[in-house]
Symmetry: C2
Subunit: 135 residues, 2 copies
């Protein structure tokens, strides 16, 4: 897509710090890292969200994500790694080209996970039924 | 694994609100949801982290994650969805059985993404080199 910054990175119009690539998948460093070594894994072809990526390509991507996650941990000496993919702006997706974040984690890095809530009695079952009805 | 709560869910020893299953993969609702409809997708077999899951199984999981993400969005009327997988305790993994979170998002839900930093001049290239050396 002409206006897409990740398509421009794929096309070489915008430089990037590539770490791994295949015919269909590219991994490079996020220029605004949550922690140093934070990598992004994207399909070369433009798809807005993970749900738009064909299954076979998504399967190629996840194997690259796994490989890159291991390498990022080794290279940064991280004790853990978060894999994350935000779909749609409301979920924090800032570039509308599906991308997996690979974020190395270190003790005391201060990154906080989202607070978890509770269901009222019987409410969880209702949600499960509504979701199952879509599957 | 005997002491693993997700293995007990797989084995039916602990009840869960299942939403989807295949021979190798199970999707059910998180009992402490970040937002209602928050689902987890796990391999039936015990693997500690995503990096421990064999590629082929991880590929089966990601297709289920995509399918469940669509269904969760439809069922909850969410405008977005976050997919996330935390590896190791330091990354916020509380159950040591690899699991994808599928978290529906709504406008004004107050969930904040992690702050992003910057690299010093030349520093990003150094990180890319270190990561490439592990790939």
């Amino acid at each position: 897509m002409q206006s897409c910054i990740f398509c421009k990175i794929v096309g070489g119009e915008i430089p990037s710090a590539k770490v791994y690539e295949t015919d269909k998948v590219l991994a490079f460093l996020d220029i605004s890292p949550v922690s140093k070594g934070h990598a992004l894994v994207i399909p070369r072809q433009h798809f807005a969200t993970a749900m738009d990526v064909p299954d076979e390509l998504l399967q190629e991507i996840i194997v690259v994500v796994k490989k890159v996650a291991k390498a990022v941990m080794e290279a940064t000496g991280a004790g853990g790694v978060n894999l994350a993919l935000s779909n749609h702006e409301i979920a924090g997706q800032t570039v509308p080209h599906a991308h997996f974040h690979v974020i190395p984690r270190h003790a005391g890095d201060g990154l906080r996970h989202w607070p978890q809530g509770k269901y009222a009695e019987g409410e969880m079952k209702g949600y499960a039924e509504k979701i199952k009805a879509q599957l």
